[in-house]
Symmetry: C2
Subunit: 230 residues, 2 copies
DNA sequence: CAGTGGTCTAGACCACCAG
DNA sequence: TGGTGGTCTAGACCACTGA
């Protein structure tokens, strides 16, 4: 038990920065000084400051000191959940419909992304995700058979491809990007919006070690927003 | 110097989880056990595990233990920088053009967001951000005069409104959302794209204590992508 | 009640930076 | 070369969980 917890101290210091007491670019007191001011150990101060550095509010350098970040780069965090969870979190009922499931030579952009030989066969899946039986998102996915051979025979009616993969094929890393796209005819149809509508598209590629597992595009229904607080 | 640093340990444990050695939902060994296995102190293990918990890979409960996260919620981080920085980071030259600067009664959606009296006057700014003299983004911003009275006389030719605000009016918190929008006639014109194009829109509202400072919409030129790695 | 994670402390050593 | 942050350790106490 101490007078100051690192959580509390972190918020206190954050306020001192945000209020303008320590201005962008300026040095703030050393860990030792802060420890003395708040009557706590340097370890506690270090903990608090490291958290603020991770959040992008300050920049620290051994030997130099700690400065308030100049460029004001904020780090926004978004939780990326499985679609089913995203829907169930709103209280609605989740269901999905596989509208395409075939194994065939992958097109160029896929062999590229998954580092496959040209024309290598892969599993192509298209799924509509529904919230209370109404369209929520359209998923277009390619799966590398070398990394997930079982996918061809997986029962994807009760469980979506995404969840099957998450369960069966762990992955070590991935890339995500969000873009704004126009819903073309087929996608608009599946999402029951008018063609020409602007929809958010999430593209994700994941791999395990040196093996590329899957690449997918998820088109959210019109009105989807990626939200967070700073 | 110890055999195991918390950074190293964190990555080692991450691999053991990702490789499937500890499956989602399962308990992993206690801090003490891990400390013994790796011949380091519990403090070090705690540090590593807390980082993984923050990343959403594991869930920890006092008294209960540590489990691998079931729902596989990933936390994606995006750096939100000032537009000028974003552009300069690519090596291009930044410039901007203020296309509208007026003080007038704010429309309903603005008084709502900024918690102003209906029809309260506010500063309305529209700016085009350019990269190497070509349009990059269009900004539509409203500023609360009570929170930033100086904005009406600020010299916004050399420095954008955003930067002026960042410098002069610190803020304590904010909300950000990203949506896909259709570029209407005026926006398409400023961005030099065809009307009907899909563009990414970032909407941001910030406040200081209980005072709402500003709300803005930033429309990025077609092709903008929000990227990150997992 | 025993076991687990959350946290603080004091002391130590090191890597790095500036003048 | 002195000051600063980065990190590890050992020990301690507490809060919470589940049997």
């Amino acid at each position: 038990m101490s007078a100051v917890s690192h959580t509390r101290l972190r918020e206190t210091i954050r306020e001192r920065i945000i209020s303008g007491e320590w201005t962008p670019g300026a040095l703030i007191p050393t860990e030792e000084d802060i420890a003395e001011e708040y009557k706590c150990s340097r370890t506690t101060v270090n903990r608090a400051l490291q958290a603020l550095a991770e959040a992008g509010l300050i920049e620290r350098k051994r030997g130099a000191g700690t400065r308030v970040t100049l460029g004001l780069v904020k780090r926004a965090q978004f939780d990326i959940a499985i679609v089913r969870r995203e829907i169930e979190a709103t209280g609605a009922a989740y269901s999905h419909r596989v509208v395409l499931n075939e194994t065939r030579p992958a097109p160029g952009y896929v062999t590229n992304r998954l580092h496959l030989r040209p024309k290598r066969k892969a599993v192509h899946l298209q799924t509509v995700h529904l919230t209370d039986r109404r369209p929520y998102a359209f998923e277009d996915r390619w799966v590398n058979l070398d990394a997930a051979p079982g996918i061809a025979d997986a029962p994807l009616d009760n469980i979506s491809a995404n969840e099957w993969l998450v369960r069966e094929v762990p992955y070590s890393s991935g890339e995500i990007s969000f873009t704004a796209e126009i819903a073309d005819g087929r996608i608009a149809e599946y999402l029951e919006t008018s063609p020409g509508a602007a929809v958010m598209c999430m593209e994700r590629t994941t791999w395990l070690g040196d093996k590329f597992v899957t690449t997918m595009k998820l088109f959210y229904k019109q009105g989807y927003a990626l939200r967070t607080t700073l």
